[in-house]
């Protein structure tokens, strides 16, 4: 059995529907119209230990609902989640000892006091022994380059520094799984690259299984091979990133400018879409052909 | 003037948007009025007062609940302070009107918008209560008229005070401590914490010349007739004088604040 097993996971929310207008506003005071939204609809997947998996989809696709169920915050309506032998919701307290979570838009650090103080509190929350704590702190400080910011109050940190501290905070208790919910949101390009580097490093060195969500395709490209795409609560794709790229980027449009149009040869796997005075638009199948080959001909 | 009117309207719309919040606020007013009337009737069951009957007291309690947002000491949201601090004042300085009056009317319209949403339900509720707890009719048409006038003037007094406190708290650079200490005493002296006729006479004698009793106490006592007519007229005259004094002081401090703010580069 794999490390994380998700089978036929579903979750439905009731949403109050409000019509505009004063009359309807009063009506909804008495009787509320609710509609059901299937946030997560029959999703299954497996993840192996040490993998980095990106979970992607548009806003409202059900990403964070799935993450919330995987972290034991929400109870699934139906279906099954087994992570490392635990059912996240039913064995919440035992289970969460093994996971670390970073919500890009929320902070687990204390705003007004130095970063290290927050670490110490987390150390107590997770009952980490003094020796283990010192060891891990040193390791994380080296890995995430935190030396200069450990004594600084969080409010004085830049967003990139803060995110590094957040990631470190979620690793203090040496979790087996790390959930990263939009870890690079709002960061500038350089910080993004840094954070990605650290995530990869952590995965490699500590063999932590990482599940991340992001809207940033470059994030995903840099970090992982495997992606799970979800839309309207359903799983749309699960596999290698290259494969999906190939699938959708199979054909490329090529515009070629000529000084003078001579006879256009009939090229294999290529369709002529448009033909103008000195310009042709070609549709090239990239799997079987390359652009340079087309131009040569 | 149109700008102020549309600001008033948008405040009202915002208030209407948050219906549950308005409802919660309304129930606070209901329950608080009930709790206070229980406490005060307990005292009246032990003894009675010569110049302040239980009916007059109930008028006081319920009018206070109904017009709470008009006269409450610190209804302002500290918007001005934060605007000066975060540099948003630069926007305001670009607008084609006097800054003091813009903020003054903003605060005033916030009070009226908030009051419009809750005063009527509270009044209806209070009128329907059983005898001994209910809001009775004003003693005469004249007193009703004077009530409306003095309540309106009272809102000008409180806004004048609010402007001064806000400006001062800019200098002390904090908006929780000094301001709230002041407002606590103001609640006591304006009749928000306890109807003024129930305070010791010595305190009321001192308080007579201060502006605080003119905020709401005057209006409520006019309504219930616990203050004699001649005194009411004198007090309304005092209201007008105080309004001018407060605005004058406020404008002076505001000027200082703005010079300081622009020096800071805010």
């Amino acid at each position: 059995m794999s490390f994380i097993t998700v089978r036929n996971l579903s979750k439905t929310f009731k949403v109050v529907k409000r019509d505009s207008g004063l009359k309807n506003a009063f009506k909804s005071l008495i009787k509320r119209k609710t509609t059901e939204i299937k946030a997560v609809n029959d999703i299954s997947f497996d993840i192996n230990e040490g993998e980095i998996v990106a979970y992607i989809g548009p806003n409202g696709a059900g990403k964070s609902t799935t993450i919330k169920m995987l972290t034991g915050i929400l109870r699934p309506d139906s279906g099954e989640i087994i992570v490392d032998g635990f059912n996240p919701f039913n064995n919440r307290i035992k289970y969460v000892k093994n996971i670390g979570v970073v919500f890009g838009q929320k902070s687990q650090l204390w705003w007004d006091i130095p970063v290290e103080e927050s670490f110490l509190l987390l150390k107590d929350i997770y009952k980490v022994s003094d020796e283990d704590y010192e060891l891990r702190k040193e390791e994380l400080v080296k890995l995430l380059n935190l030396k200069d910011i450990l004594k600084t109050p969080v409010r004085q940190l830049s967003l990139g520094q803060r995110m590094r501290a957040e990631i470190a905070a979620s690793l203090i208790h040496d979790p087996k799984i790390l959930f990263l919910d939009e870890p690079t949101i709002g960061l500038d390009a350089i910080s993004k690259v840094e954070v990605r580097k650290f995530i990869k490093e952590i995965n490699k060195r500590k063999k932590v299984t990482i599940i991340l969500t992001s809207h940033d395709m470059t994030d995903i490209e840099a970090l992982t091979d495997r992606i799970i795409v979800i839309g309207h609560g359903k799983k749309l794709y699960d596999g290698r990133l290259q494969d999906i790229k190939k699938k959708f980027n199979k054909n490329k449009k090529v515009e070629i400018l000529f000084k003078k149009i001579s006879n256009i040869p009939d090229i294999k796997y290529t369709k002529i879409i448009e033909k103008k005075k000195n310009k042709i638009l070609l549709d090239v199948n990239m799997e079987k052909n390359t652009i340079s080959k087309v131009i040569r001909e | 003037m149109r700008a102020y009117y549309s600001y008033f309207k948008s405040e009202l719309m915002v208030g209407l948007q948050y219906r549950t919040a308005a409802l919660a606020g309304l129930s606070t007013q209901f329950f608080w009025g009930i709790i206070l009337s229980f406490i005060y009737t307990a005292f009246y069951s032990h003894a009675s007062l010569a110049n302040f009957s239980i009916n007059q007291l109930m008028c006081y309690v319920w009018l206070n609940q109904a017009f709470f947002s008009l006269v409450y000491p610190s209804l302002n949201d500290g918007q001005i302070m934060s605007q000066i601090k975060n540099g948003g004042v630069a926007y305001e300085l670009c607008r084609p009107y006097d800054l003091y009056w813009w903020w003054y009317l903003k605060m005033l319209s916030k009070r009226y918008a908030s009051c419009m949403l809750r005063c009527l339900p509270v009044l209806i509720f209070a009128v329907l209560l059983p005898v001994g707890y209910k809001l009775v009719a004003p003693v005469s048409i004249i007193s009703l008229l004077l009530f409306i006038i003095s309540l309106f003037l009272g809102t000008l007094v409180i806004t004048g005070i609010n402007m001064i406190i806000q400006s001062i708290s800019f200098f002390t650079n904090e908006d929780k401590g000094i301001g709230s200490i002041f407002y606590t005493f103001m609640a006591l002296l304006s009749g928000i914490a306890i109807p003024l006729p129930l305070l010791p006479d010595i305190l009321n004698t001192i308080n007579y010349l201060l502006p605080f009793r003119l905020i709401s106490d005057l209006a409520y006592q006019t309504y219930s007739g616990s203050m004699v007519l001649s005194n009411v007229l004198i007090s309304i005259f005092m209201q007008i004088i105080w309004i001018f004094i407060l605005i004058l002081i406020g404008k002076l401090i505001m000027k200082k604040v703005l010079t300081k703010a622009s020096i800071q580069g805010g």
Binding site: D112 | A21, F38, L49, I178, L203
Partner: protein, 258 residues
Amino acid sequence: MKLIKNYLSMHLKVSLEYKSSFILSCISQAIYMLVELFTIYALFLKFKLLNTFDINEMLLGFSTIWLGYSLAELFARGFDHFDKLIVRGDFDLLLIRPRSIFIQIFGSDICYEKFGRTLCALLIYIYSASKVITNLTLLKISLLITMVIGCFILIISLFIIGASFCFVTVQGIEAINIITNGTKQVAEYPLSIYKKPVRMFFTFVIPIVLINYYPISYLTDKTGNILYVFMPLVTIISFIISEYIFHIGMKKYCSTGS
């Protein structure tokens, strides 16, 4: 235990980051309470009731409720302002930690600004108790302690019930706040001034009499019934009820989300 200590010290550090503002709010909170006390005194003065009611007994009742209330505000602000925890989504962060939710909510906010008020109430409490009690026994001392604890527990229970409403609607907390504040307001006065229905309410619905009215009559030797000494502990029942309600709310939250 170590965790609680850590929470306490963390919040103290936060408060001390803004020293002058912290001290000023401490003072202003205490002044608020004293003004409240003054209005009560003024009422008794006005109605010439100071002969019928013993002023020290009144002070004792007043300071009991304020001491319990301030302590609850100090240590249980996480419940008192639970709506913020839900709105900001920080409640989710508590759920991913391997510790009891209750301890974490207590630890999420500790409002040291209420310290000024607490200290002030404590001084009045000790002063009035020393005036009221003529022969101090061990039982009376323990009663003085359990009164405060009982009041603390009762107010916290109300906070927790209010917090449970937040799982349904965030605005719900205001409705419960009225009840909490209203209880405090009513209990500031000696309960014997009220008519029977009001007294009944505060006996059977919100049992404030257990921590205030009856224990004081034991302290002043109006009754020798030893049962009165243990009365404040009955509030533990209200705590259990509130905890139960909170868990129902949390279950709903976990199955519906925010």
